[in-house]
């Protein structure tokens, strides 16, 4: 018997990153601005996406990829708004990965899409390590998760490009200081924009929606036609 050492240097996450890069190139080619919406279970991801879709669908062609462990509850909510929706069931997995998005992209008419919103599986941990090929990474938490939720999940706030604290209208009822949550996010990631939202406060929703629209416009302007 002979022994050998073989140097592999194979990065498991890089393998995902490579597929994510391919997804990104494909989206760029078709001039699609894509957003990865991550967040806790019940933080209001689906609702905030719905509100954005309702407002933006007259101006832009929107598609949604709805990630869920099982079932298609979220997907059917988006379908009701009359936009192309691809449900992705991860089965046992706690996050979407680039391979699942690669497959879902084949089912979308990218040539006739301006904005692709990807709703990740409700989880503040696992989605962090898996890039999808998105242009914008958004994390949503709500006050009902408690104001220590940010520091318990530092990496997702450190690596996101927009952070939303939702359901601020009930902050007092659940004894939470939403300003402390904002400060915690800025401690972890000083340059990230933070938006405080409530479903019942249109102005706050408008801030979130205009942020999306700004990214969308910028992406379209940057394209070389």
């Amino acid at each position: 018997m002979l022994m050998h050492v073989i140097h592999m240097e194979h990065d498991v996450f890089k393998a995902n990153d490579k597929i994510a890069e391919k997804n990104r190139k494909k989206l760029d080619k078709h001039q699609v601005f894509s957003v990865n919406v991550m967040g806790a279970i019940g933080s209001g991801k689906t609702t905030l996406i719905e509100e954005a879709v309702k407002y933006l669908k007259e101006k832009y062609r929107i598609a949604v990829i709805a990630g869920d462990v099982i079932a298609e509850m979220d997907a059917s909510r988006f379908r009701k708004l009359g936009i192309p929706t691809i449900p992705v069931n991860t089965g046992k997995e706690c996050h979407l990965d680039a391979k699942l998005i690669e497959k879902a992209l084949n089912e979308i008419d990218l040539e006739n899409t301006d904005l692709l919103i990807i709703e990740n599986v409700g989880n503040l941990i696992c989605p962090v390590d898996f890039k999808l090929g998105e242009h914008l990474r958004v994390v949503i938490v709500s006050v009902t998760e408690g104001d220590d939720i940010i520091l318990k999940h530092p990496m997702i706030f450190k690596t996101s490009e927009l952070a939303i604290i939702n359901k601020v209208d009930v902050a007092n009822a659940v004894d939470v200081n939403s300003e402390k949550m904002r400060e915690d996010i800025l401690t972890l990631n000083p340059n990230v924009p933070v938006i405080l939202t409530s479903k019942h406060d249109w102005e706050s929703l408008e801030t979130w929606i205009s942020f999306l629209e700004l990214g969308l416009k910028k992406a379209q302007k940057d394209k070389i036609y």
């Binding site: 018997m1 002979l2 022994m3 050998h4 050492v5 073989i6 140097h7 592999m8 240097e9 194979h10 990065d11 498991v12 996450f13 890089k14 393998a15 046992k92 997995e93 706690c94 996050h95 941990i125 696992c126 962090v128 390590d129 520091l151 318990k152 530092p154 990496m155 450190k158 972890l188 990631n189 000083p190 340059n191």
Partner: protein, 133 residues
């Protein structure tokens, strides 16, 4: 918990590489795991051993080397985080949080970019081949 699917990916890479080199057995699998990655070394090792049963990797030692975060700052600094800053923050119970609290550039104090510490690399394997191979 996504250690099982990661373990599946590792086993596939390891057994493919081992087979390509004519291995009859895999003796060691050495990984490098970034301290900022959301992967648990013990769970990963457990999952790997469970799925490696009845493969050439079933008796392999599963070694995980932890990789500390590294930084890049606009002031030009590239390198490790300031370990003394981590110790100053020792009241922080979570190691991950302690590292993130230390993500400021040790030279100029600005918030720096993370360039390493999030990886999960199959570094090397040690295999056994037949004499005549």
């Amino acid at each position: 918990m996504h250690e099982l699917s990661i373990a599946c990916e590792i086993l596939e890479q390891v057994t493919n590489t081992a087979a390509a080199h004519g291995a009859v057995k895999v003796k060691h699998v050495t990984l490098q795991m970034g301290r900022l990655s959301h992967t648990n070394a013990e769970q990963l090792s457990f999952c790997f051993k469970a799925i490696a049963e009845e493969t050439i990797a079933e008796d392999a030692d599963f070694i995980v080397e932890m990789v500390p975060p590294s930084l890049e700052c606009e002031c030009g600094y590239t390198g490790a985080v300031d370990e003394s800053q981590i110790r100053e923050n020792s009241e922080l119970k979570s190691e991950l949080l302690a590292y993130i609290a230390a993500m400021d550039c040790p030279i100029c104090g600005k918030s720096a970019q993370i360039t390493g510490g999030r990886e999960l690399i199959i570094k090397s394997i040690e295999i056994e081949t037949k004499d005549d191979n």
